[in-house]
């Protein structure tokens, strides 16, 4: 039965002409037979035919009724409506162009932003088990801060859980590949052996890690390494015989056991990972190894949920396990666990701004829809007679509404097609604006998902803005419309103008929200870029170096000191030094600290940022030395352990005291027990975690007493820092040929990177706010001009009766400003609820900053006033005689 219906539907659709011809013949045959019958009963031939015709009734009506019962008819009507709609659009090219362009802007910007958000946030991860992957964050219970876990905690989670199929740790690290050619610094990852099987990823060549390989190889043995496809191609010439070969990575030998397929990436991040090795590298060193320290939180943990286990269940189970661990290990006391989808862990802090942008661009689309609805409404008034005539000729109301919807959906699709083209064209520019640190950018582009989205949005938009005129038509009575004789200010006028007012109110409200959001972001960005980072970022070159492979730890400081001395002696260099963690990067070490005279158990010691530096670091970066002295070359292994603290630390731990001469014990140290260090100096606060972060307590210790590698060499130059790069490389190569130089950047670049996300969001949101403002003002302008034209007659009468131009002007402007003011009020009310969502993106600005609110309101009112004034002045200038004759 349903098959038959389907078959008929298709047959009728494709053989419509034939079916119509058949029907025609059938009815004609009937007519002839009827006429013949009548003729046989003695009627004249012509008379018989006439009678037969009368008895038959309206042939067209019969046909229409038959078509109605036949499947496929709605399709036919649809095509008819589309054809008619397109014809109507062609007849009004101005209207069509305005509507399509408005929609294209709205749909285009929405589609473009969606493509970015989709690629980064929505698209599933490229792993077979993607849906079940979660990130397990070990956090400080009180604040929710943290995220990385210690290896002993991880082992306990994995041993006790029942909710997970598998769990694996990972961390990224730099590796120096030392081979026949020049040394190469590679981004690598240290992972659990189980990681690959957990992700459901298979190597393209060789094997994955074996569970036993989480333990370090026996003395003299090599740990396993798996290469990325790209590294295998570039450095090993795609040679399948690399399997089993031993390579040197930094200090140790590694055996190549596998090569991953080209598309494989883990962890998923902007900078591609080139090789993987196991946590065995962290487990070297036996009882002192970092993997044995429950307090060493440094690993990302991911897990694959068992089938059917929800995130919530996993969270509950792990929270219970973490609670038990807290009991068993008092030093763990303050920690808890958060389970989030893996994608959330990858997307990180860019997620919120991206969703904000998607929301903003959705508002722009809504405003565009409102504008087109306004246009359609104005035109519907002009077409009321047409509709009334069609209704009088027998078109059902449903058919008329369907016709209008078909037209608006056609418009939506046209706008969508143009918008999609705009979006695709602007994608490359958009991608360039996105901060480099954002992962998964490579999957942005035109694909099925994007097409589907654009189609869906276009259809939804078409239905949305088609709603107003369609509802209108469905209410209009035929006779009323015909009687109204096409004049504007008729009986339906009041209701119509209410709809238009509502549309103005809504688009102004939307524009206000966007304007406010972008205003807040702009102010925040100003604060961010003008905030004093605590150092001078101009003309500073930075480059990162490892101490050469095979050098004993004790010689590490000497190597960096030589490098600094050699580079410092180059012409054009004002001053040079070395530091473990650069400002603004957020990659500082953290260490527990213990204060002099206050013995504290490990678990309750406060923590501070920790940095190792060479002498002259503060002078090189222009960091203020507030009190005491800088480190000197005499602060070495055999002299008193010393420290310099920043002002934030001094104020927090030595309030109203002179910290110079007092002692602190940072947990990070050279060999042996961490010593108490004498504070010899206090320096100004430096934004270590980023330009928006508050200055945190920080301890500096001399590199000579710490022995950390790698280090950043920092060089203040007289002129362009780039001119020093080549000579600096030569100097380091002259010291050691096996250590690669990487991350060669200026501090200025680091600064730019640190504000890249806020810059991106601010730029785009301001663009959208501008677009919203433009569309809203065009909308207001359109409505006011329309009202002015509709009321030309009335205005003429008023003026003929002695109304002043000023009064007319005020009346028309007031018509527009009233809904605009209402929109402003609603918009502000809405923004007060919405802008707090932005607070995580704001720096130095309150989400309800009155100045921003005032400025945005004034700006919007100004624009609205201009948009009302221009058509109003035009109306007021009309000659009363001409306006009276106007029809």
């Amino acid at each position: 039965m349903s098959f038959r219906r389907c078959y008929n539907f298709c047959r009728n659709l494709f053989r419509k002409q034939r079916a119509d011809r058949d029907l025609d013949q059938e009815i004609r045959g009937y007519l002839e037979l009827l006429a013949e019958e009548k003729a046989q009963s003695g009627m004249g031939r012509d008379e018989a035919l006439r009678q037969a015709r009368r008895e038959l009734g309206g042939v067209e009506q019969i046909k229409e009724n038959v078509r109605d019962v036949r499947g496929g008819v709605s399709m036919d009507n649809l095509l008819q409506d589309v054809r008619y709609g397109l014809r109507v659009l062609r007849r009004n090219p101005g209207f069509a162009a305005t509507a399509v362009l408005t929609l294209a802007l709205g749909i285009g910007s929405t589609t473009a932003i969606f493509s970015v958000v989709d690629a980064i946030v929505f698209k599933p991860l490229p792993f077979p088990n993607a849906g079940r992957l979660v990130r397990i964050r070990s956090v400080i219970a009180a604040s929710g801060d943290g995220g990385v876990a210690s290896y002993p905690d991880f082992l306990d989670w994995r041993a006790r859980t029942r909710a997970f199929d598998a769990m694996a740790v990972s961390r990224t690290d730099g590796f120096n590949l030392i081979g026949p050619r020049e040394p190469l610094h590679l981004q690598g990852a240290v992972v659990s052996a189980q990681l690959f099987s957990m992700l459901g990823a298979m190597p393209a060549l060789g094997r994955g890690f074996l569970p036993a390989e989480d333990q370090p190889a026996a003395a003299g043995g090599a740990d396993p390494v798996i290469l990325s496809y790209g590294l295998w191609q570039r450095q090993f010439g795609s040679d399948a015989s690399v399997l089993g070969r031993t390579i040197r990575l930094g200090d140790g030998p590694f055996t190549i056991v596998g090569v991953m397929p080209p598309a494989f990436q883990y962890p998923i991040q902007a900078e591609p990972v080139e090789l993987w090795t196991t946590v065995a590298v962290d487990a070297r060193g036996g009882a002192d190894a970092v993997t044995t320290q429950r307090g060493a939180h440094y690993l990302d943990v991911a897990g694959a949920l068992k089938r059917g286990v929800t995130l919530r269940q996993a969270q509950a189970e792990l929270a219970a396990i973490a609670g038990a661990l807290n009991q068993e290990h008092p030093e763990n006391k303050a920690r808890s666990v958060r389970v989030v989808p893996e994608i959330q862990g990858i997307v990180g802090p860019i997620g919120t701004p991206l969703l904000v942008l998607l929301g903003a661009v959705g508002c722009v689309l809504l405003i565009a829809c409102v504008n087109v609805a306004n246009l359609l409404l104005a035109r519907a008034t002009g077409r009321r007679k047409e509709m009334a005539v069609r209704a009088a000729l027998g078109a059902g109301r449903g058919r008329a509404v369907r016709q209008l919807f078909t037209e608006s959906v056609s418009l939506g699709l046209l706008g969508g097609a143009l918008g999609l083209a705009l979006a695709v064209a602007s994608l490359r520019l958009l991608v360039r604006l996105i901060p480099a640190e954002v992962p998964r950018l490579n999957s942005i582009g035109l694909d099925g998902r994007l097409l589907a989205f654009a189609l869906l949005v276009s259809l939804a938009a078409g239905i949305l803005f088609g709603l107003a005129p369609a509802l209108r038509v469905s209410k209009i009575g035929v006779t009323a419309s015909l009687k109204e004789s096409g004049r504007g200010a008729g009986s339906g006028g009041k209701e119509r103008s209410r709809t238009r007012d509502a549309l103005v109110v809504s688009e102004v409200a939307l524009a206000v929200v966007l304007l406010l959001a972008s205003g807040l972001l702009i102010r925040s960005f100003q604060h961010l870029t003008q905030a004093d980072p605590g150092f001078d970022r101009q003309n500073v070159l930075t480059l990162q170096l490892d101490s050469p492979a095979g050098k004993p730890d004790s010689q590490v400081p000497a190597f960096f000191r030589d490098a600094v001395a050699q580079i410092g002696a180059l012409p054009g260099v004002r001053s040079a030094s070395a530091v473990a963690s650069l400002p603004l990067t957020g990659e500082s070490l953290r260490s527990s600290i213990e204060l002099e005279g206050q013995p504290t158990p490990m678990a309750s010691r406060p923590s501070a940022a920790f940095n190792a530096i060479e002498p002259n670091y503060f002078r090189t970066l222009g960091i203020a030395l507030v009190a005491g002295r800088d480190f000197t070359e005499h602060d070495g292994t055999n002299s008193t352990p010393v420290a310099i603290v920043n002002r934030a630390l001094a104020q927090r731990f030595f309030p109203n005291q002179n910290p110079i001469g007092r002692h602190v014990r940072p947990g990070i140290s050279g060999p042996g027990e961490p010593p108490m260090r004498e504070i010899v100096g206090v320096v100004g606060d430096v934004k270590q975690a980023g330009p928006g972060a508050a200055a945190a307590p920080e301890v500096y210790a001399p590199l000579a007493q710490i022995r950390i590698s790698p280090m950043f060499i920092v060089v203040r130059t007289a002129n362009d820092p780039q001119s020093i790069v080549a000579p600096a490389r030569r100097q380091i190569a002259s010291l050691d040929k096996t250590t690669p130089i990487y991350h060669v950047e200026t501090l200025d670049r680091y600064f730019a990177q640190s504000v890249a996300v806020p810059r991106f969001v601010t730029l785009l949101l301001s663009g959208f706010a501008g677009l919203a403002l433009l569309l809203a003002s065009v909308g207001i302008y359109g409505v006011i001009s329309y009202i002015a034209v509709q009321r030309t007659h009335e205005i003429g009468i008023r003026m003929a009766l002695g109304a002043q131009r000023g009064a007319v002007l005020r009346m028309v402007v007031g018509k527009g400003m009233l809904p605009a003011l209402a929109g402003l009020a609603i918009g502000i009310a809405g923004a007060l609820r919405l802008t707090p969502l932005l607070s995580s993106l704001l720096y130095g600005v309150n989400p309800t900053d009155p100045l921003t609110f005032a400025a945005a309101s004034l700006m919007l009112m100004g624009v609205a006033l201009v948009a009302c004034y221009i058509p109003a002045r035009h109306a007021a200038k009309l000659d009363p005689m001409r306006s009276l004759r106007y029809e």
């Binding site: 013949q25 045959g29 009827l34 013949e36 019958e37 038959l56 009734g57 019969i62 038959v66 019962v69």
Partner: protein
């Protein structure tokens, strides 16, 4: 829309058409005349109701159609009842008898 001396009940037209076609295939006019004949002229089905009904029933699979020659060598479309239509006729007849019985007893009741 059913133009007849007696207004046709919903569904009655289908039953009448099926009944009219029970013996032989007929063209549209033939069906109309046959219905008038078997109902003693009570029902006169006008083309405005007949054609939509025929097409609907054909879609439902109760009827099949073919072109053929009418009495006076005119081309006409003939309808024939299908197996499905015959089953439908049986079902509708039974249904109708139940209804008419019920109606009759309802009207007789005081």
């Amino acid at each position: 829309m059913a133009a007849s001396r007696t207004d046709l009940l919903q569904g009655t037209l289908d039953l009448l058409i099926l009944k009219a076609l029970a013996l032989e295939k007929l063209h549209g006019m033939g069906i109309s005349r046959r219905i008038a004949q078997i109902t003693n002229g009570t029902f006169e089905v006008k083309p405005g109701s007949l054609f939509p009904a025929l097409h609907r029933m054909e879609q439902a699979g109760w009827l099949s159609s073919s072109w053929g020659e009418a009495e006076t060598n005119r081309r006409a479309k003939f309808y024939r009842m299908t197996k499905l239509g015959r089953r439908q006729l049986g079902a509708e007849t039974a249904q109708w008898e139940r209804i008419s019985l019920a109606m009759a007893s309802a009207l007789r009741a005081t």
